[in-house]
């Protein structure tokens, strides 16, 4: 994930268009903060201690990825929703760009 974030930041075309966030399902703010420092995570991480977000998104197993388009009119659309990590950050980024049509 750190590699993915860096690849986005290094791309002039993408850095203002793609944002990355992480959600710690069931984790307290302390645990999320510890995780962020321990793994030097450069993008924002959020605590979902009471699992309220986790419940809304369907109690998925982790890690789970969503790609969400935010349109100019404020509407949004999920274009990617999949369980499991990825091996190659650049390939994953290409897939995100392709599927989102950004």
């Amino acid at each position: 994930m750190n590699e993915l974030y860096r690849a986005i930041q290094e791309s002039k075309d993408l850095r203002d268009k793609i944002k990355v966030i992480g959600i710690g399902a069931g984790n307290s703010p302390f645990e999320v903060d510890f995780f962020q420092k321990n793994y030097e995570v450069p993008f924002p991480l959020f605590s979902d201690q009471d699992l309220s977000i986790h419940k809304v998104i369907g109690e998925v197993r982790t890690p789970y990825f969503f790609g969400v388009k935010i349109n100019d009119d404020g509407s949004n659309e999920v274009f990617y929703s999949k369980l499991g990590g990825f091996k190659d950050a650049n390939e994953f980024l290409k897939l995100m760009v392709k599927l989102s049509g950004i």
Binding site: K17, G26, E31, G67, K69
Partner: protein
């Protein structure tokens, strides 16, 4: 067609599942696939306390995964000891709790503490379970002990053996003199917060 303003890539993770991405309360990591037995909601606590803070921790010697035996007394005068009883291998919550401690080693080191993980399972079961826990690579840094035979004897001594033969989800913090400084017999259905344990460890040095 609407113009796209932004794209968000959202990664949902749980504290310390095997992918080294954060995990959670219900064996939520995909690393376990379908191997976590769904126990459902259990009675939060099903044992009668036998110990109190300030008392001497009962001695025990148990077989360790990886060979040999570990006794509580070997840490006397050397290390603070955290005992983490978890109900059983291949059950929810436990399958997230220990991976969490595994990446939080620094907090134990900083407070001169060792962690002993104990379940009522036998060694082969613990071996298979912890291997799956660490399938993202690496191993657990702390000893995992088997309280299998006589069944749950140590859990019983500590007052955390439930009526169905598994242990409570319980934490005991024992100082270098062998005195119990903190007890948390937790709701078996939920994972104790890391910060509470860290807070208790930090009190030991003061």
């Amino acid at each position: 067609m609407l113009r796209i303003k932004y794209v968000f890539v959202i990664c949902v993770v749980g504290f310390l599942a095997a992918f080294v991405w954060l995990s959670t309360v219900h064996g939520r990591s995909a690393a376990y696939k379908d191997n976590i037995y769904p126990v459902g909601k259990l009675k939060p606590r099903d044992s009668v306390p036998k110990l109190k803070v300030g008392e001497r921790a009962p001695e025990f010697t148990l077989a360790a995964m990886g060979g040999g035996e570990i006794s509580l007394k070997q840490y006397r005068g050397k290390k603070n000891v955290v005992i983490s009883f978890v109900p059983a291998a291949w059950t929810p919550v436990c399958s997230d709790q220990w991976p969490g401690y595994n990446i939080a080693k620094n907090y134990f080191d900083q407070n001169d503490a060792i962690l002993l993980g104990i379940t009522v399972d036998n060694i082969p079961t613990l071996y298979a379970w912890t291997n799956q826990m660490c399938m993202g690579g690496g191993t657990l840094w702390f000893p995992v002990l088997s309280d299998f035979y006589p069944h749950g004897a140590v859990a019983d001594k500590y007052g955390v053996l439930r009526s169905d033969g598994v242990s409570e989800r319980a934490l005991f913090v024992i100082d270098k003199k062998g005195i119990i400084r903190y007890i948390d017999v937790h709701d078996i259905n939920t994972r104790p917060r890391l910060e509470v344990l860290v807070g208790e460890l930090e009190k030991l040095g003061k």
